[in-house]
Structures are given as structure tokens and as C-alpha cells.
């Protein structure tokens, strides 16, 4: 009589147990993925910061070299003051056309 109503053997407990197991594994897997992502993000971020720091050192050297050049007295470097200054003439309107 029972078999005529339910042709397949059916039990709720194994079905729910299986679902719980799948969800638990998914949960753990999701945590693992998220934690790995977080770790990689932190690592990459630190890497970027380290690179920026290295660039900052180079920028410091560049700015120091600018200051050094502008502080330099050309006469102490063996150069003499120019005898004359030649100014570039304004371009004529004709030439511009």
C-alpha cells in the first residue's frame, strides 16, 4: 500500500544531512577563498607601497640634483660669464603665415 503511493524509498534525514554537508563544505571553501583574497590583497598592497617608497627615494635624488644644479656657481665649474647676450627676434607675422 505504501509502495503504491511512494514508488521510491524516501527519507528526509539523509537529504538534509547531505545538504548540510554541501553547505558546510561551501562555507569553508568560501572562507578559504575570501581569506586567500584578503591575504593577496594585503600582500599586493604592501608591494605597491614598497615600490612607491623606492620611487620616492629616486624622486628625492632627482629633486636634490635640481637643487644642486641651481646652487652651482658656474664660475667655480670653470665657465666664464658670457661676453654678449643675443636675443631671439620675434617672428614676423609674414613668417607665421
Amino acid at each position: 500500500m505504501r509502495n503504491s503511493r511512494f514508488p521510491f524509498s524516501f527519507s528526509l534525514v539523509p537529504l538534509l544531512s547531505g545538504t548540510v554537508a554541501v553547505l558546510a563544505i561551501s562555507y569553508i571553501g568560501l572562507i578559504a577563498v575570501v581569506m586567500s583574497y584578503a591575504a593577496l590583497t594585503v600582500e599586493f598592497s604592501q608591494s605597491v607601497k614598497n615600490d612607491e617608497s623606492a620611487v620616492a627615494v629616486l624622486e628625492g635624488q632627482y629633486l636634490a640634483s635640481i637643487a644642486s644644479i641651481q646652487d652651482l656657481d658656474y664660475r667655480t665649474a670653470g665657465y666664464a660669464a658670457p661676453l654678449a647676450q643675443i636675443f631671439v627676434p620675434a617672428a614676423s607675422m609674414t613668417a607665421l603665415r
Partner: protein
Amino acid sequence: MRAQFRSRIRFVLALIILAALLVLVRLYFVQIMHGDDYALKADRQFASGGSGLFDRGAIYFTSKDGTNISAATLATGFLVAINPQTIQDPEAAYTAIAAVASTTLSHDAFLAAVAKKNLVYVEVAQHIPDAAGQALAAENIPGVQVLRERWRYYPGGTLASQAIGIVSYGSGDTLVGQTGLEAEYDGTLSRSGDSLYKNFFAELFSNVGNLLVNAKDAREGSIVTTIEPDVQTRLEHDLAAVNGQYSSKESGGIIMDPATGAIVAFASYPNYDGNNLQNVDPSLLGNPLVEQVHEFGSIMKPLTMTSGLDAGAITPQSTFDDPGCITVNTMRICDWDLKPKGVIGVKQIILQSLNVGASWVATRLGQDKFRSYFTTLFGQKTGIDLPNEGHALLGNLATTQQVNFDDMSFGQGIAVTPVQMIRALGAVANGGVMVEPHLVSAIRLDSGITRKLDWSHTTPVFSATAARETTQMMTEMFDTKLENGKAIIPTMSVAAKTGTAQLTDGHGGYYTNRFFHSFVGFFPSYNPRFIILLYTDDPQHVEYASETLDTTFLDLTHFLIDYYQIPPDRGFATSTSQG
């Protein structure tokens, strides 16, 4: 069978509930009853390592080709802390740490730190370079912790330090911008610090909105300034030279695009190195270019002249009788040489810098109109993006004594900030229109979007005709008077004016032998790329600005023409002059 199963289920449930209750009770005692104690203990143990690394947006210079160069950024390295309870060989530890410390590590101070046996964490060295820190960490010295650290770093050192500003601990326990752009744009530059260490899983479910539209990404970023590092370096170099040569109290300068208000260089001397604030005079941490007011002297005359021309009180062809000295409200006003000049044209007021002539223009203009023009020029803050901008001292505008207006016409009895002064004089250079001086052109958001700031607000003051007529007088002054005409640049028109003001003695009068020198100029005169304002406060053993600042102005002018390859604007043929 079913009853037995139910009883088992109930038993398991009871166990779970009991366990949950035990956990809840335990959490209650840990978090509520003893929470403060645990938090304090955690703070002591992980004062540095557990609080996250310092993070902050960058500030960039912009070179003439558009390249961004860091003005303020982050340096990465290590700090060294000791645990006095576990350190075994203090002398060996000191030797190892002192070998890598970037600053001198006091032996006595180190031993004093070791003696604090009630502590578990004492920082003894900071800002250690990356390689040295890693080498020290590899030694695994007992009781010595080598922890990752980030700190604010200014690659240019003193370069634009007062404009860039500093970060330091304020009233709280976090580093915040205290001065300069660091303070003005702190909301953009500061970081909340939890972006890397937040609970991603919790964020995923509890804060989905933030994952889709992150409000911080729309706020946090870096700022891009208009300061050009080469020009800034040159200006600072020249200011240091003039300040040293004349033993001035202070010298300053601003170089600005008069059409847009973009400030290319912004410096005062003395200044400081933002990387090393240990022995800095706190008074230097402010910015005198926006905070301090001065009586600028005769560089005010172009504004008086343009006001008179704009109002129709005078024309470029007007003449006046200059007796050398006049008496107004019982006060005596004199030209610099005290000599009568007879009937002369108004342009001589600019060419010879005549106080009596400027007073005559002010009288012709009338007090109401003078008040109106100068209130428009100086009555409001400029709106520059720096904190603590000062107000001009305009008390004499509210009086009715003509002598006060006469004084103001040549720059005495009216005190304004340098940035107000260059903004007002910029109106003469910019066809009579004042612009908004500014240091930051754009904000580069962490989201990747660059947001350009709007500085397009302008304030019309003079007619373009009046501004051009004054510019012609200033150009003639540069060509014929500066260094007795030797400063002329054959292919480039330059408009300029010097100013020498007596310093106030603090008792309502003026010193007769102490001065404030100023100099303003812009070029090419009729379509200027740059306006330069210079000043030096209380130079010693020299009276006139033409003696102190003309060399500096000429150096900067020639430098800018060469550096920016500004094309000639005059139709002179190729000319040669003796160098």
C-alpha cells in the same frame, strides 16, 4: 522508536543550548566585565604592529611637461622595539640596533628602556631603511622586535615645505595634517585604515552597498598641485640668497599665472625640512605668504593708478604739479627724493615712484571711489586653498581723513597678505580681472577618477583699457629705469614696479631706517604668462627695493623665459647687449 529519537534530539539540543549559554556567559565576562582590561593589555602588547600601517594620499608637484613628482608620499621601512622582560643581552642588542638606526641611538636611553621591566613594548628606533631592517630581523635577537613601518616622507626636503605642510599627532592618536595642503586637504589625504584589514566575509553580507558604491573611493585620493619643482627650486634658491645677503628677517615670493591663478612657485625663507622637525622653530610651521600682513609700499601705486584711470578721474595724458612734498591734515607727505618736479605727466608717478603723485590721484579719485576699489581688491579673502588665511588691515578705509587715503595710495597704512597683493596686482596683468589664486589643480581619487578643481571664479575690478594703460607705464619703468635701463630685454616686454615701505614701530609710527622691500612684475606685458611678487622684510644696510630685489627679479624672469621658452613679443630685430 520515534519517541526515543525525539528524546535524543532534545538531549542534543539541550547540550547545544547549554554550550551556547556557557559561551555567552564567558563572552559577557570577557567583553563586558573585563573588556577594558583586555583592550589595554592588547594595546600595550601591540601598540605598533597591531594598529595597522600608516597610510595617506600623496601630494604631487607638476613639472612643466605635466609629469607628477611626489612632494609628499610614504616611505616604507622598519621600526625596532624591545621587550624589556625578554631581552637577554642588552649590550649586544644595542650594538646591533645602533648599527642600522638612521639616527643616533643613545646608549643611556637604550639601557633606560631596557630597565623598564614592567613594560613589554618600548620603541627604540624608527625609520630604518628596508634592507637594514630585514638584516636586523634576520638576526633574531631575543627581546628585539623588528616591525614594518610607514611614515610621511617629503622627497624635496625643504622644497615648498610651508605650502605642503606637515602631519603630526593632534588631539587624537592619529596622524593628521596640521599645516599647509596637508591640513587643507586632510579629508582627501587621510585614510580610515580599515580598507585592508576589514572582515571581508562580514562585509560581503552586511555591507553589500559599500561593495558596489564605496563612499571612501569617492573621497580618498591624492592631490596634484600646480607647483613646478624647477621653478620652485629656483625661487627658493634666490630668496635664500637675498635673505642671506641682506640679513633680512624674512623673504618671500610667489610666481603665478595671472590668467588662471595657478601658482607655479610659492616660497618664503627661512623654511624647514618636513622630514626632520625636531629642532624646527614652531613659528616657521605657518605660512607667512597667506597668514602675515605687510605694508607693501609703492607696488600699491599701479592699483591706485588703474583705479584713477578706470574711474575717469585721470587719463594717461593728465598732468599735475609735484612740489616734492605736500601737507595733508597736518601730516607731511614727500617723494623719496624730496625734490619738486614741476608739472609732469601721470606716468611719472609709476616711472619715478612719486608719493605726491599717488596722493594726487587718490584725491582726484575721491574717498568713496577709492574705498570701493580697494574694498573690492582687498576686502575679501582670496580663497586660496591653504589654511589660516589672514585678513587685510583696512581700518583706514573706514576713516574720512584724506591723509589716510593718500598714505594708502602709495602702500602705507594698508596691510595685506602677499597672496592678496599678487591677486590684486594680477588684475592689472589680466585685463582688469582678478582670479582665484590656488595651489591644487586636481584630486586623483583612489577610484581611478581624476577630478579637476574649479577655480574659474573671477572678479572684474578694472576696465581692460585702464589695466593696459597702467601696464604701459610699468613696462616703460622696466625698460628705462630698472638698473638705469640696462635691464631691458629687447625682445620681451616686462612690466614691473618696486616698492619700499617703512616698517611700523608698533607705537603708531614708522621707523625711519627700517624697511620692507617689495617687487612686482609680469611678462610678456600685454599677454602675461607669469606674474612675480617678491619681498624681503627688514633688510640691513640698504634702503631701496631696487637695490635688493631687482637682481632676484631679473634672474627669475630670464630663468622663466628660458625654461618655458616663452616666445618674444616685441618686434625688435636680433639685438646684442653686453653681458
